[in-house]
Amino acid sequence: MPGLVLAGIKKTYGQVTAVDNIDLTFPKGKLTALLGPSGCGKTTLLRMIAGLEDPSRGTISLDGNDITEKPANRRKFGMVFQSFALFPHMSVAENVAYSLTIAGVDKATRRARAEELLDLVKMAGFEDRRIGQLSGGQRQRVAIARALAQKPDVFLLDEPMSALDAQLREAMQVELRLLQQKLDITTIVVTHDQREAMTMADQIVVMSNGRYEQIGSPSEIYHRPASAFVASFIGKANFLKGKAKDGGVDVSGFLFRPEPAASFLNGSAVQIACRPENVSLSSADEIGPNRLAGTVTFLRDIGPTREVYVETPVGTVICEMPASTETVFSQGETVSAEFPPHALRLFPDTDDVAGAQSRSDTGEGGGSIASNKQDVAA
């Protein structure tokens, strides 16, 4: 099978396991984002792919060839580092052409290739500048051009946007994605920024504690999270804790019925995740399953959307609606929050939630977590 394949990759440092038994395939010509919180092992995994770290166990193969033992300088993988790692004693063109220089390519060809790549990253005319004369965004473009100079088989980027300001980061995410599509090169991006991953990737690998939690397209990851961790790490989610009951979930006496019905044994601890944009608010007199009555405690407009915080008997629930919505709620107003059956995701209650910020238990077996993990890029 073409592409980069990791089989049973494990990396330990003494007693600490940084990457634990990873099996992954990076499809040829696609951009894969390794997404996860700090310390989840994503950078270690990238460094093993680059040949900068040796796996403690497992194999790495490219297009069917085992490259596990191949040193970094013989893998022909281009890599962009978090700090860009440009050589300050060289000009922009010399940086870009470094791989060609040490390969013994003649000066004219090197210069032509450097100019071609700098043109590709919109840095034409900067060939003779010193690195110290460039801005953060320009440095990143030079680092990308330099990594592409040797026509790498795999293009690796370790948190490439982290040194850029928010506005530039947004623009560069789009540019990098367009560039990757233009070159049709197998690309792996390490990031802790879910917005960055969703913007650029064909495939996202969500990692936690040295393992991957889910692999899928950005849409799959967002709309059908495989675990409570993924649901909380990617975007925002309301979490409601309860007990499984006849295909539904009993949350402190309130019954929630998902579609399709839950397959948990009756009485087992379950948590429900529901995206804030799927929760709808209506007047308090509407009652029924999948509904919670509560009081509006906080409102905020965030550009195109409006968030309404509702204090319910099972904790705080966040509802997100378009800012253009005509219905206006006010603080202190009593409302009914509806959770559509198709938007409910059920997970075993293991407390495995990333970025949980508020929690209110409301009695035996019930409660909610409003996971408000903000987009890091915002």
């Binding site: 900068l52 970094a72 013989r74 893998r75 700090s83 470094y98 330099r146």
Partner: protein
């Protein structure tokens, strides 16, 4: 009445007393302490140099000491010999040449070995780095006399390296292949065996060994601070260890390397014991000659002082020229 006048006098006296203490207070205690320290430093460092400079213009009295004077005969003697203009002798110019040559080569060899060693040392674990640093610092505690004694045994013809080479058959192989003749041309062999004593090679190697720990310590900090991601970036672009060292690490620390070279060069200019042990008299240096003039056989303090001043000025010119070249190179880069 005289009373007001007397009172006025007393007031004036008090005012004078106040102004003196106010003056001292105005100067500030820290400024006074700093002034005293500066004066002591100037005296300790500048006075001996000025005395040597003045003595260098003095005149040696045969059978006695020397007298103050002001002529350049001692300086002329260093460059063209005592019999100039009747004849020209380059004896002391050659000594100056050997002084500079040994110092340049010694510092280059020391830094040349210390640079890769220190680089690979910084790539190791913290524990191994600490162990190496302890070893290097421990070797600094050895005096020049101790080091020379060790190298004297190592290079001695009967019990050192030449004896070992002979015992393992290398000497016979050198004879058979004709290399011993080549080594004899280089003054590194006798008709019977290789020899390192006396030789310029042994002199330079011992001098390099003397300052090698200093080179490691001087290079350790800049090499430790190198951004590792630059090295890794170079590796992902196809560079092997040596290429990384040559194209990334060395350019990144070229200024500390250059500074280390200059510092060790200046240090080696004054090497005495090593040269007297390992260099034959014709290849000895100006510091040996200076010592002989001042305390040794010739007892000619003005001539010794003139040699010292010339050595100092030459070193200054050397360093100044090197700094100029470095600045030009930086500007070009």
């Amino acid at each position: 009445m005289s009373y007001p006048a007397a009172a006025s006098d007393i007031q004036v006296g008090r005012a004078d007393g106040k102004s003196a203490s106010a003056f001292i207070k105005g100067l500030g205690l820290s400024n006074i302490v700093m002034g005293v320290i500066t004066a002591v430093i100037l005296f300790v460092f500048v006075a001996p140099f000025l005395l040597v400079l003045v003595v260098s213009f003095g005149e040696k009295i045969e059978g006695a000491s020397w007298v103050w004077g002001f002529d350049f005969s001692n300086y002329i003697r260093v460059f063209v010999g005592v019999d100039w203009p009747n004849s020209v002798t380059l004896l002391y110019t050659l000594k100056l040449y050997y002084t500079l040559a040994y110092a340049v080569l010694g510092s280059l060899i020391a830094v040349g070995f210390a640079f890769p060693f220190t680089y690979f040392m910084t790539q190791g674990s913290r524990r191994s780095q600490a162990m190496w640093l302890v070893f290097v610092l421990a070797s600094l505690s050895m005096s020049e006399v101790f080091v020379v004694m060790g190298w004297d045994i190592l290079l001695s013809n009967r019990s050192g390296l030449p004896a070992l080479l002979k015992a393992v058959g290398v000497t016979d192989w050198l004879k058979e292949t004709g290399w011993l003749t080549v080594l004899r041309d280089w003054d590194l062999a006798s008709p019977r065996n290789v020899k390192f004593k006396t030789s310029q090679l042994a002199t330079v190697l011992t001098m390099a060994y003397l300052v090698w720990p200093y080179a490691v310590i001087l290079l350790f900090a800049p090499l430790s601070r190198i951004d590792r991601s630059m090295i890794e970036a170079a590796r992902t672009m196809g560079a092997g260890s040596v290429t990384v060292l040559r194209t990334i690490v060395f350019p990144a620390v070229r200024l500390p390397v250059f500074g280390s070279l200059l510092l060790l060069f200046v240090y080696l200019l004054g090497t005495y014991v090593t040269v007297t042990y390992f260099a034959e008299p014709a290849h000895q240096t100006l510091p040996v000659s200076i010592y002989e003039s001042i305390r040794g056989a010739t007892l000619n303090a003005p001539f010794g002082a003139a040699q010292a001043v010339i050595l100092l000025i030459t070193a200054g010119i050397f360093i100044g020229f090197s700094l100029l070249l470095a600045r030009l190179a930086e500007r070009k880069a």
